[in-house]
């Protein structure tokens, strides 16, 4: 009776689920301690109300973007420490030594590393940067659905908390970042690890889907006057492509995870061989989402590079139309290559040949983009600032990684290299070298617009060189190891394999990358201290080309006091240098006419909805039925309450806009 009672109230929860091994406990202390420290600081400074009013309940896309980036950066540190653990383990666990962590912990560490890096670092940075800059680039005051934006962020946050909670209570998935059955089925994995993985991705994934819809509508409906599609900045195009992929690919993930959850909770047989299910169907479906996901991440990074290259070469982007076509070719082709992730499952040669050739074809539009950037630099007046460094690093690393990818598109080659460290090296070069470098470049490029000051160039260069050297040292050995037969997710190997020296080199590489991260943190702190020296006094620190540079920095909360009208591709450049681009100017009226601005009111409902979703997820992980039901009802009721609310906007009168605008411009010295 007592156990039944306990089962109802706390499900599978028990005190024995708290881990005791020293490394995990250390992680817990940091992860609980840091928020407690921040909370204590906020209480001491009496800043809670400020935090709640200005940040947690905000509908301002820029602030939501900053929150995304903060979360993503913290998760980069978490996923990065996981990576360091993997490297240390592999460098020390050889022969008679068994390294610093147990095999089962190691499995959780690499699963957490992959999951966190893709879903909470890369996706977080991506949505963060899009939120920060996309509406301004389009000459708009906000995204199409500001409230939905806030819900998206908080769902992302809820998923993030759930992933990290698995460190404190219970355990995380041990089945890799994509949790293939049969290993992820109940029979072979009865613990809560896989459930943590499923529900955190479900919650965050729904948030991503909503963001996708939001940004598509923003791009299609919220462009300023005169900005036709073909006059959009390339970043907007790449976001449109990426978000189309989100909208069409994420439902596949949601369904696949739901089927796996059904298998685990109510005993269906979608992916268990015995009951007529087929585990390869899971692999098929998860990659039908997974491959587009890779392009979801990399397309916005491509967009960022397009902006950075043309700004720092002080030249118009080369081959605009071909860039747009390349984006859409990638969008379409990314849905036709997913089988290359599981060539080894034993499909026939027709199937393998088709997907192999499609994979090679998708390299063509990517190559087109790379050449376009290089041609943009050709005969440009290049200034080597921080964002440009990251672009050049990207060109080198992405090309090496891309060549390895095309190599693996050949099925017989893939049969040799599948699941080897060669593959690990390949996709890290694509995702770190392509995606993460892109986001670093974008952050360094756009942060002055948000913060009002540039970041220290010298420390940024140190960080860059540490990253590049460390990265090559960490991953080039993996290519060789892969060729030598080392598989991924290896927690122990014999001395006779001869792999040890290369693993040690890779480990040293990670230490150098860690130094790069330390320089990045130092760069932010040092720039904060010396912000008066680095202040952006013009609103246009890089001699930019697009609309975001035409307003003061930091950006006013309403973005544009008067919505702009454009009639060219690089409207701000055309306005600054009318001789270079005659006839193409922003048509500004002589006397600015201020109008009332309608903006969305703050709302805590986004936080509430995601909070209930989190409770639902936590209940589902631990089989606490009342919590599942309560969470679900909470989500539905909060959505209904919010939908029936009519008074969601407030108006800034024209006079107030004029006053604010003049004040901003006086402070910034920006000519109107």
């Amino acid at each position: 009776m007592i156990s039944y009672f306990a089962n109802f109230w706390i499900g599978k929860l028990s005190i024995h689920q708290v881990p005791t091994n020293p490394i995990t406990v250390g992680g817990i202390i940091i992860m609980v301690g840091l928020p407690l420290l921040i909370a204590a600081f906020l209480t001491y400074k009496k800043k809670w109300r400020w935090l709640y009013r200005e940040w947690l309940t905000t509908m301002d896309a820029k602030k939501i973007g900053i929150m995304y980036i903060i979360v993503a950066f913290l998760m980069l540190l978490r996923g990065g420490s996981d990576a360091a653990l993997i490297r240390v383990q592999q460098a020390t666990s050889v022969g008679s030594s068994h390294g610093i962590i147990s095999s089962s912990t190691f499995q959780q560490v690499f699963s957490a590393h992959g999951t966190i890096m893709i879903f909470f670092v890369a996706m977080g940075f991506m949505f963060g940067i899009i939120n920060l800059i996309l509406p301004v680039m389009l000459g708009s005051r906000d995204v199409a659905f500001p409230f939905m934006n806030s819900v998206s962020f908080w769902l992302f946050f809820g998923g993030m908390i759930l992933v990290n909670l698995s460190l404190i209570i219970g355990q995380f998935s041990n089945a890799g970042w994509l949790a293939y059955p049969p290993l992820s089925e109940l029979r072979y994995n009865p613990g809560v690890g896989i459930d943590y993985w499923i529900w955190s991705l479900q919650i965050a994934g729904i948030g991503s889907l909503m963001s996708g819809i939001n940004f598509i509508v923003t791009i299609l409906k919220h462009r300023c006057q005169g900005m036709t599609l073909m006059r959009m900045p390339m970043f907007a195009w790449s976001v449109l492509g990426s978000m189309s992929l989100v909208v069409f690919a994420f439902p596949i993930l949601t369904v696949t995870l739901a089927l796996l959850a059904l298998d685990r909770t109510i005993g269906t047989h979608f992916f268990t061989a015995g009951g007529g299910g087929n585990m390869m169907m899971y692999v098929n479906l998860i990659w039908a989402w997974g491959h587009p996901e890779v392009y979801i991440l990399v397309l916005p990074a491509f967009g960022i590079f397009s902006e950075v290259v043309s700004t720092f070469s002080q030249k118009r982007l080369f081959g605009y139309t071909s860039m747009v076509l390349a984006i859409w070719a990638i969008v379409l082709l990314s849905f036709t290559v997913w089988l290359h992730h599981f060539f080894t499952m034993g499909a026939g040669s027709n199937v393998n040949a088709f997907f192999g050739i499609m994979t090679m074809i998708i390299a063509v539009p990517t190559g087109v983009k790379l050449f376009n950037w290089i041609f943009t630099m050709y005969q440009g007046r290049i200034r080597l600032k921080n964002p440009m460094y990251w672009f050049l690093g990207f060109v080198v690393i992405f090309t090496i990684g891309g060549m390895a990818g095309v190599l693996m598109a050949i099925p017989p080659v893939d049969f040799q290299l599948h699941n080897s460290l060669f593959l690990v090296a390949h996709f890290h070069m694509m995702i770190v070298g392509g995606v993460l470098f892109g986001f670093f470049s974008g952050l360094l490029y756009w942060l002055p617009k948000i913060l009002g000051f540039r970041l220290n160039e010298r420390l940024g260069r140190y960080a860059f060189w540490c990253w590049i050297v460390g990265f090559l040292m960490a991953f080039v050995p993996l290519y060789i190891l892969g060729m030598m037969g080392a598989t991924r997710r290896l927690d122990h190997y014999q001395t006779s394999t001869g792999w040890h020296p290369l693993f040690v080199v890779a480990g040293i590489g990670v230490i150098i990358i860690a130094a790069g991260v330390a320089f990045q943190i130092l760069q932010i702190i040092y720039s904060l201290i010396t912000r008066h020296k680095l202040k952006d006094t013009t609103g246009d620190p890089w001699n930019g080309r697009t609309l975001e540079w035409s307003i003061p920095s930091p950006m006013p909360f309403y973005n544009f006091a008067i919505l702009p009208t454009v009639n060219s591709r690089d409207p701000w450049w055309a306005k600054k240098y009318p001789k270079e681009e005659p006839g193409l100017q922003i048509t500004n009226k002589e006397q600015p006419i201020y109008q009332d601005i309608v903006l969305p009111k703050n709302s805590s409902m986004g936080m509430l909805i995601a909070g209930f979703a989190f409770l639902f997820g936590f209940g589902a992980v631990w089989h606490i039925i009342w919590l599942v039901i309560a969470g679900l009802i909470g989500v539905i009721v909060s959505i209904i309450i919010r939908s029936t609310k009519e008074d969601t906007d407030y108006i800034i009168p024209a006079k107030e806009v004029e006053r604010l605008d003049k004040q901003y411009r006086l402070e910034q010295g920006v000519q109107s």
Binding site: G274, G275, A288
Partner: protein, 123 residues
């Protein structure tokens, strides 16, 4: 985000209502005729399957046009574009998956293996 004044075009509303009613009628017609044909064994098996598929396609087309109003919007036709894109993606994934899984089944399943797997799962 500014609030636009809601202009109600009565003619347009009437047009929409009539299209919904027609669509509703057609949907019922297609469903019931397929049901009646099958339940009465009105033709041979192959012909019946063909007919049901034809009715399903008619249903799909009539609903796309009468309920979703494809192609009836002003330029630029985003709804139509996105619908076509969706169709493309769905076709690629559904037929791609069918192709892959059938190919796999053809090549990889042997009766002994199935028996072994069943014995492993106590089924």
């Amino acid at each position: 985000m500014s609030k636009l004044p809601l202009t109600i075009n009565h003619d347009e509303n009437k047009l929409k209502l009539s299209s919904y009613i027609t669509g509703f009628g057609l949907s019922i017609l297609f469903t019931i005729s397929a049901y009646l044909l099958v339940i009465n064994h009105a033709a041979s098996r192959t012909v019946l399957i063909g007919l049901v598929i034809v009715f399903a396609i008619c249903q799909f087309i009539s609903q796309s046009f009468l309920f979703l109003h494809l192609g009836q919007e002003n330029k630029p036709r985003w709804r139509l574009t996105i619908f076509a894109f969706m169709l493309g993606v769905v076709i690629i994934i559904v037929f791609g998956s069918l192709w892959i899984m059938h190919n796999l089944k053809y090549r990889m399943t042997i009766p002994q293996e199935i028996r072994y797997m069943k014995s492993q799962d106590n089924l």
